[in-house]
């Protein structure tokens, strides 16, 4: 017997536009969210929460390539690099969401995309590859738009559900709240049984994004 895994993958924009305070706050927010992820995982002992991180800039690369159990997960700061190759990142994630390597019996994976800019490669091709995988289609998706320059339409398309909106993180405080929420609520959503939304008379969004306070003076 075995717990079913929840694969949680951070997709982090590490382009030059993230340089400075944004990348610093992102690293801080994720590091601070890890204990809360552990807490959610402990509340749901039947799910085995496994974390990975993929960064994308001039190229996409795994920051944590192998799935790490949340209890063993330690955050190592990501660094900025160059362009915004989101398509390559989505392509790499789609390969991980094939079965195998994904098991047939698992809870829905969580894909959390954080970006502050505009993709510089063929991101639609990457998104198509992701949508073509069974687990990619089923994944709980979260998108966080950092600052006013983030291309919300790309993030909206990544979400693939008109009932969901990207979370706006226009300040360090909002980013921390968004990361905290993505780290916990999305994991809960991934491990709750529901009637298939395609067949129910009433469609239910998989989770309800929070209302983030916008009273921070330090706005990006």
């Amino acid at each position: 017997m075995a717990n079913r895994p929840v694969h949680f993958i951070w997709l982090l924009d590490c382009s030059y536009s993230m340089q400075g305070e944004k990348i610093g706050q992102l690293n801080y927010a994720i590091r601070e969210a890890v204990p809360e992820m552990r807490s959610v995982a402990h509340d749901n002992p039947a799910a085995q929460l496994l974390l990975r991180t993929l960064t994308f800039s001039t190229e996409a690369r795994w920051h944590h390539k192998d799935p790490v159990p949340v209890d063993d997960f330690t955050w190592q700061d990501v660094q900025v690099d160059g362009m915004t190759n989101l398509g390559e990142a989505l392509e790499m994630v789609s390969r991980e969401l094939q079965t195998p390597p994904m098991p047939q019996r698992a809870l829905k994976p969580v894909l959390a995309l954080v970006s502050d800019g505009v993709p510089t490669d063929d991101w639609k091709s990457g998104l198509r590859a992701l949508d073509a995988t069974p687990w990619g289609k089923k994944a709980v998706r979260v998108a966080i738009a950092i600052g006013a320059d983030a291309d919300r339409s790309v993030l909206q398309e990544f979400l693939g559900n008109p009932e969901l909106q990207p979370l706006d993180a226009n300040s360090p405080k909002q980013l921390a709240a968004a990361i905290r929420w993505a780290s916990t609520a999305a994991v809960k959503a991934a491990s709750q049984p529901v009637a298939s939304p395609t067949d129910t008379t009433v469609k239910q969004p998989p989770y309800a994004p929070p209302q983030l306070d916008d009273d921070d003076d330090d706005v990006w």
């Binding site: 019996r105 809870l107 491990s191 709750q192 529901v194």
Partner: protein
């Protein structure tokens, strides 16, 4: 010259049932429900069913939906068995008529009765948290009660089973082969499932139809379980091995009693891994010579 020995008419098999359900880890209540009744004779059909309420906040009343599903299925199954009983040259229903009934009429009636039942429950027990609020639309009410169902009926002539949503019907054949005749071609990924609250739910019902052509080729074990059991295994093969092992344990001397004793522990272990309520009902066909002991279920007993 002695009088010729009086031969007893062949007696109908008496199926032996076992059942148990455990609550999932961290769940406030068990949202599964089940039934195992009857001996498998013509007048006392074997009826097995398990239902699994979806359980999340969106399906807050799914434990009631699961209970309705089982109770209504049992009623439908009794009607079906009665119709099957009158099958034959002198009866009113042909086998093909029954098959059509099983595939179309029963699912339609069951889904309609379930909807009617849960909506009536809502009318009797509307939202008390916010009574002034506008009542939700019908679809949202149904969603509250969402549940899956696996049910089976066995008579001397027929073995039929129905499934809507996840859960498993496992059949161990007379030769010991393990089969899951109602398994979907492509299993739902994650924890999404078709449901009695789905639109046109009756069309989503999968049906297993197996007339009994020879009693000794009837399945020797029929097991219905909710997905809390199957999802505790890392693979389909692990689940099939569990079912084969269950069959072997039952076949040993004192097996049924041993299994009854061990079953709560097995299911609790499964629930620890799947996190879900876990329910199993099983019926074991008696050994061929078992029918020679004691009166058949339909015969009057004499305690004199």
């Amino acid at each position: 010259m002695s009088a010729p020995e009086r031969r007893q008419p062949p007696r109908e098999a008496r199926w032996e049932t076992l059942e148990h359900s455990v609550q999932g880890v961290n769940k406030q209540l068990n949202q599964d429900w089940y039934v195992a009744e009857g001996s498998g004779s013509a007048s006392d059909p074997l009826i097995l069913a398990v239902a699994d309420g979806h359980g999340s906040a969106v399906h807050a009343r799914s434990h009631i939906g699961a209970r309705c599903a089982v109770d209504l299925f049992a009623a439908q199954a009794r009607t079906f068995a009665e119709l099957a009983r009158s099958e034959g040259p002198d009866g009113t229903h042909s086998l093909s008529w029954l098959m059509n009934y099983a595939r179309n009429e029963l699912p339609r009636q069951l889904a309609a009765a379930w909807q009617e039942s849960v909506l009536a429950h809502w009318d009797r027990h509307p939202d008390t948290v916010n009574p002034a609020a506008e009542p939700p639309p019908k679809g949202r009410k149904l969603l509250l009660y969402g549940a899956t169902l696996v049910g089976a009926v066995v008579t001397p002539q027929l073995f039929a089973a129905w499934q809507l949503g996840d859960g498993e019907l496992t059949v161990i054949g007379a030769d010991g082969a393990v089969a899951l005749p109602l398994a979907p071609v492509e299993a739902d990924l994650g924890d999404e499932t078709e449901s009695l609250c789905s639109r046109h739910a009756w069309q989503l019902v999968r049906v297993h139809w197996a007339p009994v052509v020879a009693p000794d080729r009837t399945p020797r074990l029929i097991v219905l379980s909710t997905d809390g059991l199957s999802k505790s295994f890392a693979s389909d093969e692990g689940f099939a091995q569990f079912m084969a092992g269950l069959d072997q344990r039952l076949a040993k001397d004192g097996g049924p009693d041993d299994v009854r004793e061990a079953l709560p522990g097995w299911l609790a272990e499964a629930a620890r891994y799947s996190g879900d309520d876990t329910t199993l009902v099983a019926a074991r066909r008696p050994e061929p010579d078992a029918a020679d002991h004691g009166p058949a279920p339909d015969e009057p007993r004499s305690d004199a």
